[in-house]
């Protein structure tokens, strides 16, 4: 019985979509526009998230040592770094090395440094974080732990710009959901209207079926399926438009920014989100179908 219901609803829904193809195309494009906006925002935020996560994990941090650090403190600090899984490698930079670097990087200011009676630059350890093993939170926690270690003057792990980038991603995601939400509401109403038009076109048929004693699920089912198919089609159209746009934009970035941008970081929506977008589109269409189906009593 369920298979009969399913095949009947699907048959009728396909038939109706074909008969009303003009208005259905309009409805599908409305859903596609709504999901294109939402998908576009998701694509941007997904890539920003990916970049933030990767940059956070791959970040380096510097441990500045106190001038009076003891040998024992230095040994225990090294032991701490050796034992921790997020540490990929480390390099000790002595006070003399730091002065050398300063002279090399800021030659104009180097004279001032040489005039000082004592080298003011601290020795440091530059730590590179293991990108696969370290989440941003783990690195941050480790940096805080090091800050408390004896002999450590300061730990520099500047995440502010990454946090800002993360904030932008969150803001964009919310903006996407809000704008997408408004467009989705419009899409639900469009689907409902188109399905109601189809219902009016089939009014006689539905009336006759009611007189025959057709179960209410058989009368309403095709309308819900119609909405569902419109939503699914709309989502597929949105993805079909979004992908070439993504490819073109990616190529533009590659040309304009060249090696400055790690293109491996830029990707299309993950399969899970793409599937969710299609399911969401079907859900939107289904909601529109339900709104229209309520008129069958």
């Amino acid at each position: 019985m369920v298979i009969h219901w399913f095949t009947y609803c699907l048959d009728e829904a396909f038939g109706s979509l074909w008969r009303q193809r003009g208005s259905v195309a309009f409805s599908v494009l409305t859903i596609a526009a709504a999901l294109l906006v939402l998908g576009g925002f998701l694509l941007v935020t997904e890539n920003l998230d990916r970049a933030v996560s990767k940059w956070s994990a791959a970040a380096e941090f510097s441990i500045y040592l106190r001038d009076d650090i003891s040998q024992d403190q230095r040994v225990s600090l090294n032991a701490l770094l050796s034992a921790h899984p997020v540490v990929a490698s480390r390099e000790y930079v002595s006070k003399a090395d730091a002065a050398q670097r300063f002279k090399r990087d800021f030659p104009d200011l180097a004279a001032g440094l040489l005039d000082l009676p004592q080298n003011p630059l601290p020795a440091s350890i530059e730590v590179r974080v293991h990108p696969r093993r370290a989440g941003a939170a783990a690195v941050e926690a480790f940096a805080r732990e090091l800050q408390q270690a004896p002999g450590v003057a300061d730990v520099r792990f500047d995440r502010r710009w990454l946090e800002r980038l993360g904030g932008i991603a969150t803001g964009l995601r919310w903006a996407g959901w809000m704008l997408g939400g408004v467009l989705i509401a419009a899409a639900v109403l469009t689907v409902a209207t188109v399905v109601r038009l189809a219902l009016h076109a089939r009014r006689d048929e539905v009336d006759i079926m009611q007189l025959m004693g057709a179960p209410i699920s058989l009368l309403r089912g095709p309308l819900v399926f119609e909405g569902l198919l419109q939503g699914g089609l709309g989502a597929l159209v949105a993805l079909a438009v979004l992908y070439p746009v993504y490819v073109i934009v990616r190529q533009q970035f590659a040309t304009a920014l060249g090696p400055a941008l790690d293109l491996a970081l830029v990707g299309f929506l993950p399969p899970g989100i793409s599937v969710l977008l299609v399911l969401g589109g079907m859900g939107v269409g289904c909601a529109g179908g339900f709104v229209a189906a309520r008129h069958v009593r």
Partner: protein, 219 residues
């Protein structure tokens, strides 16, 4: 089979379409329902089809009080009925085969059962050679026979017909009425609303006469 008790139907501002109608129609009977336009014939049929519910009194079919049926129970009840209307109510976009086959289809019959039942009833009504035609390609008499085929395909225990010969010439009307007589001879209860006195005289069955919503005569 059918029993109405002090049945009334009121529309709008106290306008009675039916007033205090009490009738009993036995199982297997063939009954005509007649009266002038606006007498309440169609209202009674709509009540029997459970398209309307009584304002007063009750209507019972095969022991079921129609006013008490839920939406899904009403649909189940209708599956035991066949209906025929003056305007045929055929789906123009479907062939004869699909129009008739729609009933077993919506009621969950398998494709094989659906085809067998549909073909049997079309053959009985002499429509097997027209089964791939669309309603607009058929004559009025053929269209009405398709509507009757659709009413019969589910082997209902009760057939309700509202002016089934209203759009047909006298010869075709007689042909259709003879069909109803044959259907009744197989044990199906038939209630036909008509104002064609000639036909009623020809068929010669019990007649209920309504006027201004009241039952004024039973012969």
């Amino acid at each position: 089979m059918i029993e109405t008790s002090h049945l009334s139907k009121v529309y709008g501002r106290g306008i009675y379409a039916l007033r205090d109608v009490s009738v009993v129609i036995e199982k297997g009977e063939f009954v005509f329902l007649t009266g002038p336009s606006g007498a309440g014939k169609s209202t009674l049929l709509r009540l029997l089809l459970r398209q309307e519910t009584p304002s007063e009194g009750s209507v019972t079919v095969a022991g079921r009080d129609l006013a008490r049926l839920s939406l899904s129970q009403a649909q189940t009840y209708r599956r035991g009925l066949g209906f025929v209307f003056q305007d045929f109510k055929l789906i123009q976009s479907k062939t004869v085969l699909d129009n008739v086959g729609l009933v077993p289809r919506v009621l969950g019959a398998t494709s094989v059962q659906q085809q067998r039942r549909t073909f049997q009833v079309l053959k009985w009504l002499g429509l097997q050679h027209r089964m791939n035609a669309f309603p607009l390609e058929l004559s009025g008499g053929e269209q009405q026979r398709v509507a009757i085929a659709r009413a019969l395909v589910n082997e209902p225990s009760l057939i309700l017909a509202d002016e089934p010969t209203g759009n047909l010439d006298p010869d075709l009307s007689l042909e259709i009425m003879n069909l109803f007589r044959d259907i009744n001879a197989r044990g199906t209860t038939v209630l036909v609303a008509t104002h064609d006195r000639e036909l009623m005289r020809h068929v010669g069955r019990r007649t209920l006469t309504l006027d201004h919503g009241r039952l004024v005569e039973t012969r």
